[in-house]
């Protein structure tokens, strides 16, 4: 079907589809697990006191956290692709997730000797996301500065910067792990693997707060971001205060990435695959891609995590969803890279 420019009706229709996909993903994710459930069984079990408690406290927290994480990473990916004018940008690929991991780890390392006992848990819940936020923002600003060539961050420059930053961040996290107690180091290791399991409703609530604020902020910026995707000069010609909008978009994107990385660790490629899928479904308009990526990304990660749980009987251990998305996203990334470089070679 031929594409047409974005109108209010087309926007609402796309978002309605996104909501339906998101709801369907949520329902499927609740039913997926080591022991699969039919939807009707899941509904019945919710009213049961013991099984319902397990479903609500274990599986539903995972599903909701997975949804928040998928939405945040996908929206951040869509925003980064517009900001860097690069379809291969993704919080993980360009190193923003790595920066958040370093920031979060650093916060843990600094606070561990200072705090002990019951207070440390609460303070860690606050300082870890703040550290992750500072880390994500720093990397984003550094990458833009390092990779920017004549108003456009070239694909190769962004990817190289991302590779360097990721390697640097991982090395830094490894060094920082040596500075903490053995059990803290072990939990940091598990955190870095990328998982949405074992979280409480309280943690889900805190993550939800970060993601909601970041998501609403990015949605509000979607109009200027669509213009920034045409280049800084073009955006300025069309009435965008480029530096102010760019700064706001960096702050909002970092908030989303840090909010989820501080809880779930590094989950890669969701922010690359989902915005691409949305571009195929709804076209390249950033105004629809940012919210639609949020909805579809929520469904994608909820379902991926559901399959990770379903694989428990196969591996007899938890299969981290981060590994699942990377196994899926790696080949997709290579296909997109080949297509992107091919189209640019053709253009020359």
């Amino acid at each position: 079907m031929a594409r047409a420019p974005l109108t209010r009706t087309r926007l609402l229709t796309s978002l309605l589809w996104g909501v339906l996909i998101s709801l369907a993903g949520g329902v499927l994710a609740v039913c997926l697990g080591p022991q699969g459930l039919a939807f009707s069984d899941a509904v019945t079990l919710f009213s049961d006191s013991t099984a319902g408690h397990i479903l609500r406290e274990a599986r539903l927290t995972r599903v909701v956290l997975g949804g928040l994480c998928g939405a945040a990473l996908s929206m951040a990916g869509a925003a980064l692709q517009a900001l860097l004018r690069n379809p291969l940008a993704d919080p993980y690929v360009v190193g923003v997730s790595g920066g958040a991991a370093v920031g979060g780890t650093l916060a843990v390392v600094i606070q561990e000797p200072l705090l002990a006992g019951a207070a440390s848990g609460w303070i860690a819940q606050l300082t870890l996301p703040l550290g992750a936020y500072a880390g994500a923002l720093s990397v984003l600003v550094l990458i833009y500065g390092a990779a920017r060539v004549s108003g456009r961050a070239s694909a190769v420059a962004v990817l190289l910067s991302g590779v360097v930053f990721n390697a640097f961040c991982l090395a830094l996290v490894s060094v920082l792990r040596l500075l903490v107690r053995a059990e803290t180091a072990q939990s940091l290791m598990a955190w870095m693997m990328g998982s949405v399991g074992s979280e409480t409703w309280q943690m889900v609530g805190i993550t939800g707060l970060y993601v909601t604020v970041g998501a609403l902020w990015l949605i509000r910026l979607a109009g200027p971001l669509h213009l920034l995707a045409q280049g800084d000069d073009a955006a300025a010609r069309l009435g965008v205060s480029v530096e102010r909008m760019r700064l706001q978009a960096y702050l909002a994107t970092s908030l989303l990435v840090a909010g989820v990385v501080s809880v779930t660790g590094m989950i890669g490629f969701v922010g690359l695959m989902v915005p691409h899928l949305c571009r195929v479904i709804a076209g390249p308009d950033t105004r629809v891609n940012i919210p639609l990526s949020g909805l579809v990304g929520a469904a994608a990660l909820m379902v991926c995590d559901g399959f990770s749980r379903a694989l428990f009987p196969v591996f007899h251990t938890e299969f981290p969803v981060g590994a699942f998305t990377s196994l899926l996203g790696g080949p997709v990334f290579l296909v997109l890279l080949r297509r992107h470089l091919g189209s640019h070679a053709g253009a020359r």
Partner: protein, 255 residues
């Protein structure tokens, strides 16, 4: 009141290089002004300064007496529409979507266009003879077609001042002439039009005023027949050129 864009003693530095030096210029509504000069003479930098897209080292640009540096970006974009020399919009966008971007300064934060905006965009595409490929992606367009789409975006933006950096450089002679005719029609309706051109004959034929630049400074200005003397052409282009009459039209030829 007729629109007036005043450039007063403007200097622009890009990196370590002084690219525009003490340029003063007034552009009036109802006229077409052509900026001429060899490569690197400072024309594009002056255009960017007039559009408020580069910081000024010195001087001011005023729109109807109001310093443009003090105007909000969106308000300025409603009054000054411009296109750059080498703009490359997202190549997955449709031509019509690119033209609709011109409505952004007139719409809310999200810039979602309505039916009246789409009608304006289609009219602008028709004016630049780009309507037949309105629903094609930018990736599939030739350089000249891309340029006509960008020009349509400027028309759709609808400012009182139009700043166009080499709007005809990728166009064939027929399209170039018709684009200049279109710009003259817009000027006749009150717009102040400034174009950077390398086709001196086209400039001499279509512009009311030509401004010749060399090494960041204005070295001549006025009606084409007066401002494009043999000496000025030699100084500006380092070549022996003359303006002659062919069938009553001024044409620049090599001696």
């Amino acid at each position: 009141m007729s629109v007036r864009l005043q450039v007063e003693e403007v200097s622009v530095r890009r990196g370590a290089t002084q690219v525009v030096t003490d340029v003063s210029l007034t552009v009036e509504g109802g006229t077409v002004t052509a900026l001429l000069g060899r490569n690197g003479a400072g024309k594009s930098s002056l255009m960017l300064a007039m559009a408020g897209l580069v910081p000024l080292e010195r001087g001011t640009v005023a729109l109807n007496g109001v310093n443009t540096a003090t105007m909000p970006r969106q308000a300025l974009a409603r009054r000054i529409a411009s296109m750059g020399q080498d703009e490359r919009p997202d190549d997955e966008l449709l031509a019509l979507e690119v033209v609709l971007l011109g409505r952004a300064p007139h719409l809310g934060a999200w810039g979602l266009p309505g039916p009246s905006d789409e009608e304006l965009a289609r009219n602008a595409l028709a004016a630049t003879e780009a309507l037949p490929f309105a629903l094609r992606s930018m990736r599939t367009l030739s350089g000249g077609e891309n340029q006509r789409v960008l020009l349509a975006r400027v028309l759709c933006q609808g400012g009182e001042v139009l700043l166009l950096d080499e709007p005809t450089h990728a166009l064939d002679p027929g399209h170039a002439l018709r684009v200049m005719k279109l710009l003259r029609e817009l000027a006749a309706k009150g717009a102040a039009v400034v174009v950077v051109l390398h086709d001196l004959s086209l400039a001499a034929r279509c512009a009311d005023v030509v401004v010749v630049m060399d090494e960041g400074r204005v070295i001549s200005r006025g009606a084409p027949r007066q401002a494009l003397s043999k000496d000025i052409l030699a100084r500006a282009f380092r070549a022996e050129l003359s303006l002659v009459d062919v069938h009553g039209h001024p044409v620049v030829v090599a001696d």
